[in-house]
Amino acid sequence: MPVSTEKPGLKLGKRSRESSDSDWGRDAAMRFRFGIFLLVGLLLLVMVLAAAVGTVEVSPRTILSLLLNRTGLTDFPQTWPLSDETIILHLRLPRVVGAALVGAALSVAGILFQGLLRNPMADPYVIGTSGGAALGASVGVVLSNHFSILGFGTVPTLAFLGATGTMILVYRLSRVGGRTPVVTLLLVGFSVSVILGYTMSFLLIVNDRLQVNVRIIYTWLLGGVTLSRWPQVGIIALIVIVGSVLAFAFARTLNALSLGEEHAAHLGIPVERHKTALIAIGSLLTAAAVTAAGLIGFVGLIVPHFLRLLFGPNHTRLLPLGALGGAAFLVTADLLARIAMPPTELPVGILTAFVGGPAFLFLLRRTKREYRF
């Protein structure tokens, strides 16, 4: 951090626009723009890389050429086998884009919950929201297996209800006198997650005995990107984009909430209404991420934390950075999960837990001083 060189002194008048814009303000804005630029570049890079690597290697150049040809703007001569095109367009890209969407959703949901609960530990996985969504989705799968009348929307709808219900429950239970101390939040989140997790196991056992195919629930428990078809990706994309845009609309509310709910009200924020909206948006994003990839922990914790260290906690900047950073992070993690132990494909949840778990503990240890146990 550069040392403060800001000079006091009020400059008024027309020419002061530049000078009244302190170095500091310009600094942060510049860094933000640079950060967005960097993260977009990084995201595109890892996406192309993730599409290129696999049992069949496809050169990044081929990927770019065939994608550009698809847009109809270019017409590179086709020097690659047709099978490559199929692998990229129908196998790898849906998954890569899916991973990016899941990462963005988890990261933005994490930022929303952290701002709402005024607590940097609030990750959708840690506080049980993901667990609620997973249980809801599992119930949805089981139900649609038993009653074929239920349509495609059952799973995501129940995932959303599960996430919202859990969020409201955890929020209510962990509040102590208008605050959400880290101890109660973690204890409540932990207990609720355990209950939800074992309920899922129970569902599995019951359904195994009924010989119903619920393999997807296993995948959800372990956490892995399951998206493989473009229509699914499209639906998730729609939810994640709408959710993120809505989240951005509440950036100033989140900033004001840092001062506490009462003070936020004194700044003209309709606190109760906005809190409800924040819970709904966070649950929606979590539900989308969980239906697409199951339980993936700590993304919503480490990505926002890291970005806050680099760019500060201002939510108008943190939210867009968080979406991009989360996307790049999960695409990378998913790539590593695929290539770490060939031919076995690791569930990406294991990978994020190996990276995120220690980071979480470190964070807890560091902030210990600020909370009285």
């Binding site: 951090m1 403060s4 800001e6 006091p8 009020l10 008024l12 626009r17 009244s20 814009d21 302190s22 500091w24 303000g25 952290q114 005024r118 607590n119 940097p120 609309a249 100033r252 900033n255 004001a256 840092s258 001062l259 506490g260 009462e262 003070h263 009200a265 004194h266 700044l267 003209g268 924020i269 309709p270 806050r308 500060g312 906690p313 201002n314 600020e370």
Partner: protein, 272 residues
């Protein structure tokens, strides 16, 4: 002009009455201290005026309107509240904290304009917090944080400033610094100031009107010399106090009536 009017105001927490039939008026530009022992209802009264609480009975009027009758944004442009010392969960800089004061002026899709930046800078000038702009708010000292919070309140460009124990947990010189600032703002910008304050002596020096709350009602209301009388304070605080006047000082000094003092402890201090 009456800027704050309370009429027969009552409030209770869980059926326990906290305020009973409070009626008072505060004129624009006044500097009023709210005194009384813990639990007398000082903070509750401030919250009723700021709109954080809704009265059970009676009315609050701010500039002629009930707080519940105007939009929250509008109210936030009229009244600014400086809370007791506290921290924020993330590493916001002091300037970012002050910028939050512009929240009631910002529109959803429009950025922070030049007017907002000027208001923030002016607020930081007035509170002498410009040198702290880039520092992390949570890492500032108690007095610095308090000044930043006042700057935040000023960035709201309010008519009324409500303070809740602005000097608590501050060193004696910092206490004077904060209250000097408040007096300054009252004089130079015509801000109406209402502050809950614990310290009777600070109240006597820095405010020209003192209101003593006792058991949920107004026990006394007037200038320091009139309010700071031993018999009155003994009722308010439930114990003996001593009021001493000092030469060349307009405000009297209130001391707790100690049983061990120079005259009465003839046996001397055994620890010496």
């Amino acid at each position: 002009m009456k800027t704050i009017q309370l009429h027969e105001l009552c409030f209770q927490y869980n059926h326990r009455p906290v305020l009973e039939r409070i009626s008072l008026e505060i004129t624009a530009g006044e500097r009023v201290a709210l005194l009384g022992p813990n639990g007398a209802g000082k903070t509750t009264l401030l919250k009723l005026i700021s709109g954080a609480l809704v009265p059970a009975q009676g009315t609050v009027r701010v500039n002629g309107h009930k707080p519940s009758g105007v939009s929250k944004r509008e109210l936030a442009r009229t009244i600014a509240v400086v809370p007791q010392d506290f921290g924020v969960p993330f590493a916001f800089t002091a300037r970012e904290i002050v910028e939050l004061g512009r929240t009631p002026y910002l529109r959803l899709l429009r950025g922070v304009g030049t007017g907002d930046r000027l208001a923030v800078e002016r607020a930081m000038e007035l509170t002498d917090t410009s040198p702290l702009a880039k520092r992390i708010f949570n890492e500032l000292s108690g007095g610095e944080r308090q000044r930043v919070m006042i700057a935040l309140a000023l960035a709201q460009e309010p008519d009324i400033l409500l303070l809740d124990e602005p000097t608590q947990q501050l060193d004696i010189t910092r206490q004077a610094e904060i209250l000097d600032l408040v007096v300054d703002l009252n004089r130079s910008r015509g801000l109406t100031v209402l502050s809950a304050i614990h310290d009777l002596n600070l109240a006597a020096v820095y405010f020209h009107r003192l209101i003593v709350l006792h058991d949920g009602s107004v026990l006394a209301d007037g200038p320091p010399a009139e309010v700071l009388r031993p018999e009155l304070l003994e009722i308010a605080y439930g114990g003996p106090v001593e009021v001493v006047s000092i030469e060349n000082r307009s405000a009297p000094v209130v001391l707790p009536a100690s049983r061990t003092r120079d005259g009465s402890s003839k046996g001397g201090n055994p620890e010496r």
